[in-house]
């Protein structure tokens, strides 16, 4: 009986700690290579199991940003959210490589006050209705965790989801790492991905090469074949993953990293993830 309840608690925890596992978050640009400075990229955003079919939840657009080739923030235009899919446009009015995406930060976990377990952070499921009673033994933010709390078991989470589009000659400014969390620095420029040429990307955690990181790469178009086509690669000591593309097309890339080195006070662990969608051209 006791074992059973412990097990249930563990399952509940695991589910709460990794909400991103439920469905794949993706951004799908209409193209990644453009010519001229009168170009527009239109982007779909959603969460679903199969890529890139919007059949589950639209992506929330309030966290989506775009950066021009010089690193300044650019405008997200014509944003709209449908039942299964959000969309927006970015006008590529300057030559070079643009970055578009989201960076989400959160905390979740448990602590105890006088031997009673409390929960911190967002729960899965729909947000509470206005006027609904507060969740028992639950606080929304880390700041609300009382000073006398014990048995802190709180995970800091930070996830990036980025795409890169280039008009005219490619540039590198938007790949400058912030040295915070999990980041990807392309050694092969995302505008130069070709099916018969391996691509190399360096992954960094807090600016240092992330060795032995498992990187998943999935081709789009799941509905038109039997297997999911997963490509698993592991980074070397230099944090570099080499990907050999099986064909041209759009690919979803995802990797995550966990450690016990959170960068916010009172958190006890952290979970980082990085997601991108890359376009590979035919030779």
């Amino acid at each position: 009986m006791r074992i059973k309840s412990l097990l249930l608690a563990a399952v509940a925890l695991a589910t709460a700690a990794s909400p991103a596992m439920a469905h794949r978050q993706w951004l799908l640009p209409s193209a990644t290579i453009f010519s001229g400075t009168d170009a527009w990229v239109t982007v779909d955003g959603a969460a679903s199991n199969d890529l890139f079919f919007p059949d589950h939840q639209p992506m929330r657009l309030d966290g989506v940003k775009a950066w021009a080739p010089d690193g300044t923030e650019a405008k997200i235009e014509n944003g709209a959210t449908g039942r299964h899919r959000s969309m927006f446009d970015v006008k590529l009015d300057r030559p070079g490589t643009w970055k578009i995406g989201t960076a989400q930060n959160g905390v979740s976990g448990t602590f105890k006050v006088d031997g009673v377990e409390w929960r911190v952070g967002g729960r899965r499921g729909p947000p509470p209705q206005p006027g609904a009673p507060a969740q028992p033994n639950s606080v929304a933010t880390l700041a609300e965790v009382p000073a006398n709390a014990t048995d802190l078991n709180i995970t800091q989470s930070a996830s990036r989801n980025e795409i890169y589009v280039t008009t005219d000659a490619p540039t590198e400014t938007v790949f400058q790492p912030t040295n915070e969390g999990l980041e990807m620095v392309p050694l092969t420029h995302p505008s130069e991905l070709v099916a018969d040429e391996p691509a190399r990307f360096r992954f960094l955690v807090d600016g240092k090469p992330a060795a032995n990181l498992k990187v998943d790469v999935l081709p789009g178009g799941k509905r038109y074949r039997d297997d999911d086509g997963l490509i698993e690669v592991v980074t070397g000591a230099d944090g570099v993953a080499q990907i050999n593309w099986p064909q041209a097309g759009m690919f979803w890339l995802n990797t995550s990293y966990s450690d016990d080195k959170p960068t916010i006070a009172r958190a006890t662990a952290r979970r980082l993830s990085f997601t991108s969608t890359l376009e590979v051209m035919a030779p």
Partner: protein, 157 residues
């Protein structure tokens, strides 16, 4: 004696400037035909920067867009150097060509050596094709042929 050999060398080099590449755009029996965008460029056989010899696109397009919107459909040329070429480019860019055979001069300042010549064509509502063939400078006669979007490509001295 020395003078003579210099003279001979000069004579031997001279035909290089007169060499031409002939590019044939095939006549296609399709419901909706648009002239293809075509790019021709050379790359040193040992590796090195591409040099564009010709790019034919919708150079006279009216309106706000200078006809460059679809240049990236010449996807190999675009990646190899088209994307950093300032257009229009003197002596390189020109309007799209009708079906038929068109001549492109081999630049006289191309240093002797081994190169690869590439010709790429992309057509609106149509296909895309790329042809590559060795090019020796000073030029030697050579020929290749496309299957769909390009016809015969010949190098003449």
């Amino acid at each position: 004696m020395k003078k003579t050999s210099l003279l001979i060398a000069g004579l031997a080099a001279a035909p290089a400037s007169a060499s031409t590449i002939s590019i044939t755009i095939p006549r296609l029996d399709v419901a909706e035909y648009h002239r293809p965008y075509v790019a021709a460029w050379v790359e040193p056989a040992a590796g090195g920067d591409a040099r564009t010899l010709a790019v034919w696109y919708d150079i006279k397009k009216g309106g706000a867009e200078p006809g460059t919107k679809w240049l990236h459909d010449l996807r190999s040329w675009w990646r190899k150097g088209g994307r950093s070429l300032k257009l229009p480019a003197d002596g390189v860019s020109g309007a799209t060509r009708a079906p038929g055979t068109h001549k492109v001069a081999v630049p006289s300042d191309l240093k002797p050596g081994q190169y690869t010549l590439y010709v790429e064509a992309a057509r609106e509502t149509g296909g895309r094709e790329i042809i590559s063939m060795p090019l020796t400078i000073p030029a030697k006669a050579a020929a290749a042929s496309g299957k769909t979007e390009l016809g015969a490509i010949t190098i003449t001295r």
